[in-house]
Assembly symmetry: C2
Homo-oligomer: 277 residues x 2
């Protein structure tokens, strides 16, 4: 025996997609990353990103990804079409669709590209907060399976405790600040960063102090990190912060930032969420 | 004579698109909204939004729009394909492509939907700043034609004055705060709001104190405004604010917010921009 294969991380199982034709892939939902209805949106976004990453014509690394969640995704197989609509000298534009039973369940656009050295500056510096060892581990309720695959340690704005016998207060703002990493630990890559950009529960839960029907309609991730930035993170915690700007008429926006422990801003994300109540 | 037609506003000329087939439209760039290279990206985004607005199967009002600028757009005609990929009970998802000479020059995804009354709250309140009459009108250089179609009054972070004989300082942050409206005045609608979401010049100009090659790669607009919110604005100035989070490796992100004078948050936008130097 000259080697023992490490077990596949559940995240890799969840985002596994295989090309069946030049621009078509097959994938399958994974119960480990189930949400209340269908899979965790972050893992769907990561599978779409992975579809581009695995394409033989792919140029460079991810710069941006926008996923529109057009309908529910059922447990089971799905197909992705991934089409490079334009390849320029330093970047490449993609259109993707995720189909299930003949219906479009998600669309996506992605920009990949080559990074080069330029003037640089970080304006959005990492908040100064206590470290992960001093923060409160979050236990999601059982009906949020995907939450068990993240080690989430909240500094502020934890998920409302629905099992608390005390009344749950409404929160005056929608800010959550937390340390997070995959559980079990997994070296950070662009796919994991994509999923973590969506690992902030709906801000309306925090404001109203309770769970409500809510779901992401559109998610955009900007990848500030280079491949070297990601490699430097390894399996360390990232610091995340999320908040909303306006709630009303059945929708709100939700913005999030992810920094490495060294203070590097790795990704920013924005999403539009529908809610009831 | 029982009526004299008002002259068509140049913005309406610039975003005019006509269906030629069920899901295909014809449009034409407009010199009034030219940028340094090709048309102002905000007007391209507005034309794509208008393509959906004019479709007979369109459901509701805009909720979100993401436009990826895949290549240069030359002065002249273009074609748009607009396809409703999924229509749900209360929202509708669109995929669009803008073609010129057989090449994809832009892609877009849009979500339209029906708004209903729910709990509401505004977290991102309007900054308290001097009114438009006390702010400095901005004169763009002649090579930015589209700038002449906006009345821009900066409270902070005006465009670097390249004609100044004094040295132009680098700015310590990338924040611009300004009042803006169409010039000549035009009642606000979703298309105008879309274009205004992109009317903040590249943040790298402000930081470096000079013009550099720069262009939007991807723009996302979230429409917080209802049709009633827009109607209430009429032709009044909006207050806009923009800033960047991280510059580096040839790219930066740029976030913007637009409020009505009554303090209503009408739209938020996010973009990824490439730059050289």
């Amino acid at each position: 025996m000259t080697g023992i294969d490490a077990p596949t991380h559940p995240f890799d199982t969840a985002i596994a997609v295989e090309y069946t034709e030049a621009h078509q892939l097959a994938g399958h939902t994974c119960p480990d990353y189930a949400n209340m209805v269908g899979p965790f949106g972050g893992v769907t976004a990561a599978a779409l990103l992975r579809a581009v990453e695995r394409h033989p014509e792919r140029l460079g690394d991810p710069l941006s990804l926008t996923v529109n969640y057009t309908g529910p995704i059922a447990d089971g197989p799905f197909e992705i079409t991934a089409r490079p609509v334009r390849t320029n000298r330093t970047n490449q534009h993609w259109l993707l669709e995720l189909m299930q039973d003949g219906a479009v369940a998600a669309t996506a656009t992605a920009v990949f590209g080559v990074r080069r050295d330029t003037w640089s500056d970080l304006e959005l510096t990492m908040p100064s907060v206590p470290g992960p060892d001093e923060a409160v581990p979050q236990i999601f309720p059982d009906f949020i399976a995907w939450g068990r695959n993240y080690d989430l340690r909240f500094v502020a704005g934890a998920v409302p405790d629905i099992e608390s016998s005390a009344g749950i207060p409404e929160n005056p703002d929608s800010v959550s600040t937390l340390w997070l990493r995959d559980s079990p630990a997994r070296p950070l890559d662009f796919a994991a960063l994509t999923a973590m950009s969506d690992a902030f529960y709906p801000r309306v839960f925090l404001r109203r102090g309770r769970y409500l029907p809510a779901g992401t309609i559109s998610l955009t991730v900007y990848f500030h990190a280079t491949a070297e930035d990601l490699a430097a993170q390894g399996t360390e915690y990232l610091l995340g912060r999320a908040r909303a700007n306006r709630f009303g008429h059945g929708h709100f926006d939700q913005n999030a930032q992810l920094w490495g422990q060294d203070g590097t801003l790795l990704a920013t994300s924005h999403q539009l969420v529908y809610f009831k109540g």
